[in-house]
Amino acid sequence: MATDNVAQASHNPESKSSRTLGALLAWCMAIACAAVFAWGLTLIGTIAAGDALKVSVPWVPAFNVEFAFHIDGLALLFLLLVTGIGTLIGVYTGAYFRGDARLPRLILMLMAFTAAMLGVVLADDVVLLFIFWELTTVTSFLLVGFDREKASARRAALQALWITAAGGLLLLIGLLLLADVTDTRLLSEIIAAGTVDIGNPQAAWALALVLCGAFTKSAQMPFHFWLPGAMSAPTPVSAFLHSATMVKAGIYLLARVQPAFGEHDVWFYTLTCVGAVTAVWASMMALRQQDAKLMLAWTTVMALGILTLFLGSNERIAVLAAMTFLVVHAFYKCAMFLVIGNVDHGTGTRQLDRLGGLFKALPVTGTVALAAGFSMAGFPPFLGFIGKELKYEGALAIAEEPLLIAMAALAANAMMVAVALTLVRGVFFGGQVNSPRQPHEAPMGMWFPPLVLAVGGLVAGIFPEHLLGGLVQAATSGVLAKETEVKLALWHGVNLPLMMSVLTVILGVLLHVNRVRVHGLLDRLVATLPFTLDMGWDRFLHALDRVAAAVVKRIQTGRLGHYLMVTFVTVVVAGGAALATTQTWSAQSQQAALTPVVVTIVLLMMYAALVTAVSESRMLSIGALGLVGAGAALVYFWYGAIDVAITQLLVETLFVVLIAAVLSKLPRLSGDDHTNRRTRIWHGALAMCTGAVIGLATWLVATRSTDHAVARFYESASLPEAYGANVVNVILVDFRALDTLGEVAVVVTAALAVVAVLSRFNQKRDVENAGEGA
């Protein structure tokens, strides 16, 4: 497994300024996030009291889209998580990438990502929510693919982009359907309207599509496989992505639409089953990893599964469990990732079998790891303990299937204990193992942020009600869209959840002690799988390539005849359909009478055209073409278009001369250019159909009563305004003079092109002649 190239600082002198810039930007990010965090803290009182903050500016009034933001308890919880963790990540990133020329780029992406994530949790308008949602997708793509030279990072980034962006599009459709059903674009109003009746197919589709969006984003089965790959991002990015942002957006969405769908059984069973399966499977996968970071990435999938599981119920205590665990998870997951970053930095590896006994060398990081690991495992008095107690309490409180949910939570938690033990005990205690680098503690900028989180996890565990009570209560009320009383306490007395906690720890320790055997079992289990979704992904992409190639091969044949055929068939089908549905075929009353002269001319033209069609002589064809052109001139002349007739005659003469000149250099015509009899019949039929459609369409246009208003205007204005008696001329050179100028430009361009092409050949010939002369 590749490690982050932290030490790969560029020694390019010109990057010195960009290094300073990077440090500056990192501080900017930290300070900006801290400022928003502080502002969010001041809001807790107001929002816990039941008020919500609203801002709205019209954006696209035509589509009724607004820049509408809305802060309730749920949004505030996420806002504080994003900005709080964002502050620490800003500080950490500045230290982690110190002296790296890529730092400014990374920080800018992180800032954009933070802003997009804040947009997601604050947006009230569904379209706005979607836009920010996809902005997080795009920015996370950039972040995951940050090491763009690495193929694995590019693949992971693309995979994340594909899956989450596709889910985002489904989400858009779902949200629009939901908005349509509830008759409002604002999430706050959708929530306030209460349960949506999913007997209505539109609402059912809305539910299914919104779930697709949330599951892809939050890496639920079967879309979970992109998240472990996404840990190829630099460690601070992973810490941010996994703890407070990106994947939590799906959880946010589920919590947000809970009041609209939470009553329904289908919501409960879908979320519970998907969440439970995801949580158990992901914790099993976490157990068997050798890369510490990958292990942590899998535990994130597990945590997301647990959150989804608890959001399936609208039981107060279950939602409270989800909201509390959200905070718990953010604290320990971010700290753990940063710890792994420090270990990677200090030893040059993340492979568990090459790490051990590091506590002496990395005392601060080790302490942080202890605290975060205990929180992760759910030991008292850490915040994780409260989270775990609430999970069990919530599971048992859910009316349907309490046992199943409790078992899933128990299994996942027990494996979490084992993972925490592996990460803390395996890495920091036990015998020393030779690591690639002499282990050393990270600089202060890298141990301070995780230390804050670890201490926070401990203090918040001891004084939960004072530090988190108001916020979690506001968030729970926000999810359930009604006032809710909750109390957080470390000690709940001796009860069933506590028994389950004890059981969890026992199971976890057993799993840890027997980890070699467990590894073997899990490896054998994975080996029996016919294929992994990650491999299926490659096959899917490959199949997509082949389908695309096959389609292109069919429609992009490179044959002019084929393209023309498609064009003509389209003309026949579309034009024929339009003609077939036309109602008014009324022949106009005043038809121009049949005139012998014109009839003769027209018959001659038809004959000439047919001659061109069958002739094998070039000269005969040219003559026939000339006849058609001259005939057209006579028709124009007969019907009062003198200028047109003159132009036509002139141009036709030039045509004949030019074509004759060029054709003399081209080969003779062959007898039959249509490949065989079948194509001849088919081409003939197509030609006749096209002719019929065009002819009938002309008839339709010509027999409609023409609106002469424009013509009358030109006629009346021609002399008094433009001082010209010839109306056609006046139109061309006065009223529509700019069009004529454009036309002149076209002709000049054509002439220049002709000269250019011809002179190229003449030059070549000159060169050849010169060569022969020498």
């Binding site: 490179g558 038809m606 055209a609 036509q648 002309t698 010509a702 002709v754 092409v757």
Partner: protein
């Protein structure tokens, strides 16, 4: 008369489609000339046919009913543009004959060559 001219348009269109579908570049050029004539006729006939006085304002006869000047102006423009197009096509045809030494359209595959084995087998290879 309108019906007859529409028939003429149909025949000319059919002829040019027939010629375009043939594989000869020379016949394609003929079709191009024909089709630009057809287009002009469509505009002209569509504007309404009346064998009337030309569109010349005569102060002595203010009540004179003139032919519709609008389609005439359009056709005039179209004729000139069509001429430019055909002239350019002629030169292109000439130069492609000099390059490819064929006037069979199906054999001119310089820009879009036949998908050969190389490109297909490249796709069959599994991804890294």
């Amino acid at each position: 008369m309108t019906a007859l001219l529409c028939l003429l348009i149909a025949v000319l269109t059919a002829t040019s489609v027939w010629l375009m579908l043939s594989r000869s570049l020379v016949r394609f050029l003929f079709a191009l000339v024909l089709v630009s004539n057809v287009a002009n006729l469509v505009i002209f006939v569509g504007g309404g046919l009346e064998p009337l006085a030309p569109a010349l304002v005569d102060t002595a006869q203010p009540d004179l009913v003139m032919a519709n000047p609008l389609p005439q102006a359009l056709v005039l423009t179209a004729i000139v543009i069509g001429f430019g197009l055909v002239a350019f096509m002629l030169v292109l045809a000439l130069s492609s004959w000099k390059v490819f030494r064929t006037v069979d359209i199906d054999q001119m595959r310089f820009a879009e060559p036949e998908p050969d084995e190389a490109t297909t087998s490249q796709l069959e290879e599994p991804r890294a």
